[in-house]
C-alpha cells in the first residue's frame, strides 16, 4: 500500500542508530558532569549557610578520631551517627588540646571551655556558631554556646565576610571580601580598558583593511594566542613587563594591579579579537559596498556602518572578554602582586577572587569555614560568569533580530 509513498520513513542502518545513540549518551553525560560540578560547589559552600547538617557531622568525625587516634575530619561526607555524643567529649578531653583540624572547635575556643561547649552543642544537636543570623531563642543552651563565642569578640560570619580585611589563616581568621572584590574589579577594568579597544581595532583592521594574504596569517595567529597557556603570560608579565613598567613609572610596587591588568588584557585581546572579527566579517558585504559607493572612505565605512552593524557581536566580544578577565586565575596570581589590599589605585597590588581560590584552596582545611568561604567565592564567580554569558547570548540575539529584520 504505502510502497510508493515518497514521504515514507526510510529504514536506517544500524550504524546510524549507534552513532546517534553514542552522541546522545556522550552529550547527556557531559551535561550531567557539568551539573554535578555545580552541585558539588554549592554543597561545599552550603555548610556556611545552613547550620542543620553541621552538628550531625561533628560527632561522627570525632568518633572516628577515637578509634584511629587521629582526627579524620578530612572526610566531609561521613554521615551522622547517633549516640556518639559522649565519645566526642571524651576524645577532646583525652587529647587535651584543641582539634586543630576541627574548624568548629577551633572557632569556639582553644582551651577548657571547649569541652563543655562542644558537649552542650552536640547534645542539643545545633551549634549556632556558623549561622550569622542566629537570633535569640528561648533556651539557655544557645546562650551557653554563644557565650564563649562572644567572649572571644569574634564578629558574626556575615560581618566578617563584609569586613575590610582578608586574612583567612590565623587565630582570628578574617574573611573580608571587599579587598578581593575591589582587586577583581580593578584588574578586570584595566584589562578591558586595554584589551577591548586593541581587540576591536585589530578586528577592524583584519576584517576590512588587511590585504588578504596578511589576514590569512593574522587571524589564526591571534587566535592561537587565545590558547596560550596563561601561566606563560603570567610569567612574562611577572618578569619582563613588570621590570619594564617599574623602570618607566618608578612605581613603589613592582607587581601591581596595572601589571595584572596588562597580563589579563593579553588573555582578553584574542577573545575580543576573534569574536569581534567574526561579527564584523558577518556583516553583509553589500553594506560596505553601498557605503563606499556613496563616497565614504574605508575608515568612515568601518566605524560608521560596519561597526554599528556588528555592534551586538562586538558587545558580546567585550562581555566575553570581561568574563575571561574576571575568571582568569593564573595570570592574576602571578602578575598582580596577589595582596588583598582594599585600594582602588592601579599602582598597588591586588588580589582577585579567582586568584584567591586558586592560591588558597590547595592548603585550606577541608570543611572549615575558610573552605566554605572559598566555595562561596567560587559560586559568586560562577554566577557572574554565567550572568555575563547569558546577557551576551540574550542581548546579541535580540539586537541582531532587531537590526536585520526590522522592528
Amino acid at each position: 500500500m504505502a510502497v510508493n509513498n515518497p514521504f515514507a520513513r526510510k529504514r536506517r542502518h544500524l550504524g546510524e542508530h549507534a552513532a546517534e545513540w553514542t552522541i546522545r549518551i556522550v552529550a547527556s553525560f557531559s551535561i550531567l558532569v557539568i551539573f554535578l560540578i555545580f552541585i558539588f560547589v554549592f554543597r561545599e559552600a552550603s555548610s556556611l549557610l545552613t547550620s542543620k547538617s553541621e552538628p550531625a557531622e561533628q560527632p561522627t568525625t570525632n568518633v572516628v578520631a577515637t578509634t584511629d587516634d587521629r582526627p579524620e575530619i578530612y572526610n566531609p561526607d561521613s554521615g551522622p551517627e547517633p549516640g556518639s555524643v559522649t565519645t566526642t567529649t571524651t576524645v577532646v578531653k583525652d587529647s587535651d588540646k584543641p582539634e586543630v583540624y576541627n574548624p568548629d572547635v577551633t572557632m569556639v575556643g582553644m582551651d577548657e571551655p571547649v569541652v563543655t561547649t562542644t558537649s552542650i552543642v552536640t547534645l542539643d544537636d545545633r551549634p549556632e556558631v556558623y549561622n550569622p543570623d542566629s537570633g535569640p531563642e528561648p533556651g539557655s543552651v544557645i546562650a551557653a554556646a554563644a557565650a564563649p563565642y562572644e567572649a572571644h569578640e569574634q564578629p558574626t560570619l556575615w560581618d566578617n565576610i563584609t569586613s575590610n580585611v582578608w586574612q583567612p589563616v590565623g587565630e582570628n581568621p578574617k574573611f573580608g571580601v571587599w579587598p578581593l572584590l575591589i582587586g577583581t574589579l580593578k584588574t578586570t577594568l584595566i584589562a578591558i580598558l586595554i584589551g577591548a579597544p586593541l581587540g576591536i581595532l585589530a578586528a577592524l583592521y583584519s576584517a576590512f583593511f588587511a590585504p588578504r594574504k596578511l589576514r590569512e596569517v593574522l587571524k589564526p595567529a591571534i587566535e592561537l594566542l587565545a590558547g596560550f597557556p596563561s601561566v606563560v603570560i603570567g610569567f612574562f608579565c611577572l618578569t619582563t613587563v613588570a621590570s619594564l613598567l617599574q623602570d618607566i613609572t618608578g612605581s613603589q610596587f613592582r607587581l601591581n594591579a596595572l601589571i595584572g591588568g596588562i597580563g589579563l588584557s593579553l588573555a582578553v585581546i584574542p577573545i575580543v579579537f576573534t569574536i569581534a572579527e567574526d561579527a564584523l566579517s558577518a556583516v553583509p558585504k553589500t553594506l560596505r559596498e553601498a557605503s563606499l559607493a556613496l563616497g565614504s572612505t574605508e575608515w568612515q565605512t568601518a566605524y560608521r556602518v560596519m561597526l554599528p552593524a556588528a555592534a551586538p557581536g562586538v558587545f558580546a566580544a567585550v562581555l566575553l572578554g570581561v568574563g575571561r578577565a574576571f575568571g582568569e586565575t593564573m595570570i592574576a596570581i602571578m602578575a598582580t602582586g596577589n595582596a588583598p589590599l582594599s585600594s582602588w589605585s592601579p599602582a598597588t597590588p591586588a588580589r582577585t577572587l579567582a586568584a584567591t581560590i586558586g592560591s588558597e584552596m590547595g592548603e585550606v582545611v577541608w570543611g572549615s569555614e575558610h573552605y566554605g568561604v572559598l566555595f562561596l567565592l567560587g559560586i559568586f564567580l560562577f554566577v557572574v560568569s554565567f550572568g555575563l554569558n547569558a546577557l551576551t547570548e540574550l542581548y546579541v540575539k535580540q539586537r541582531l533580530i532587531k537590526k536585520f529584520q526590522g522592528a
Binding site: R212, A290, S291, A293, L294, S296, T297, Q300, G406, A407
Partner: protein, 255 residues
C-alpha cells in the same frame, strides 16, 4: 543621429581582468548625458563588471587590472591623480541586492551628506524630504523617518537606496539590476522613477529584463562574452538590430 548629444562617459578599447581571467574585451562606447542607457546580455557576459568599472568599485577586488581608457567628463578615472572617494560621490550606484544601512530611514539618507561636512538640521530635513519625494517614497515613510529602515518592504528599501544615492547629488547613477528582486508593482514604481530622474542624471542601467530596457532606456548596449556586440538607440536595437547575435538574443533564441 540627428543631433549630437553631449557625451558623459567615453571608453576606448577598455579591457578588464580578474587576476588571470579577462572579463571585458576592448569596449568602446559613448554614454550620453541625461539619457538612460541600458545594458542587456546573458548573465556572465560582463555587464556588472563594466558598470562597476565606471566608479571603480572593482578596485575592492584583489588582483584586478584594466587597460584602455575610461573617460568621465574628459578625465580618465584610472589616472593616478584621480581620488576614488571624490569620483564615487559624483557617480552614484544602486545595487541589485543593496540592503539599507541598519540605521533609521533619516540616517540612511543623511549618511552620505554628513561624511565630510556637518550641514544644519534644517538643511538635512529639507534634503531628506526632497530625496524621499524624488524617490516616490515620502508619502509612505514620512511618519516614521526615525524608524529603522530595515523594516521597509523590498521595494521601499530599493527606493530608499535610490534616494540615498541621489542625496549626495551625483551626476551619474549606475543601477545594477535594481528591480531583479522586486515584484511587478515595485518594479513599475522604480521604472517610473528612472524616467523622472533622467532629466537630472545620466543613468546607466543593467537589466536582464529586455522589456524593461525597451520601456525605460533611450540607448541600449548588447554584451556577449565580455564584448560589446552592438550599441544603438533602444528603438533601433529592438526593431532592427544590425548584428545577428543581438537579434537572436532579443527574439529569445538564446540567453
Amino acid at each position: 543621429m540627428a543631433k549630437e548629444l553631449p557625451v558623459k562617459i567615453h571608453t576606448r578599447d577598455f579591457s578588464f581582468f580578474y587576476s588571470e581571467k579577462q572579463a571585458l574585451h576592448g569596449i568602446g562606447i559613448d554614454i550620453y548625458e541625461n539619457r538612460v542607457t541600458a545594458f542587456i546580455g546573458p548573465s556572465g557576459c560582463g555587464k556588472s563588471t563594466f558598470l562597476r568599472s565606471i566608479n571603480r568599485m572593482n578596485d575592492l577586488i584583489d588582483g584586478t587590472r584594466v587597460t584602455g581608457d575610461m573617460i568621465v567628463d574628459g578625465v580618465n578615472v584610472y589616472d593616478k591623480d584621480v581620488d576614488v572617494v571624490t569620483l564615487r560621490t559624483r557617480i552614484g550606484m544602486v545595487f541589485q541586492k543593496s540592503i539599507p544601512f541598519p540605521k533609521s530611514i533619516y540616517e540612511n539618507i543623511t549618511y552620505g551628506l554628513t561624511l565630510n561636512e556637518r550641514p544644519s538640521k534644517a538643511d538635512l530635513d529639507n534634503i531628506v524630504e526632497g530625496c524621499l519625494r524624488r524617490a516616490a517614497l515620502w508619502d509612505e515613510v514620512k511618519d516614521r523617518l526615525h524608524h529603522s529602515a530595515v523594516g521597509l518592504s523590498g521595494g521601499q528599501q530599493q527606493r530608499l537606496c535610490i534616494a540615498r544615492a541621489v542625496a549626495v547629488n551625483p551626476e551619474i547613477l549606475l543601477m545594477d539590476e535594481p528591480c531583479s528582486a522586486l515584484d511587478p508593482i515595485s518594479t513599475g514604481k522604480i521604472e517610473e522613477l528612472i524616467t523622472e530622474l533622467k532629466d537630472q542624471y545620466t543613468i546607466v542601467l543593467v537589466t536582464h529584463n529586455m522589456q524593461q530596457a525597451a520601456r525605460v532606456s533611450d540607448y541600449t548596449g548588447f554584451f556577449l562574452m565580455g564584448r560589446l556586440i552592438e550599441f544603438d538607440r533602444t528603438r533601433t536595437i529592438f526593431t532592427s538590430p544590425s548584428i545577428k547575435e543581438t537579434e537572436d538574443y532579443i527574439t529569445g533564441r538564446f540567453g
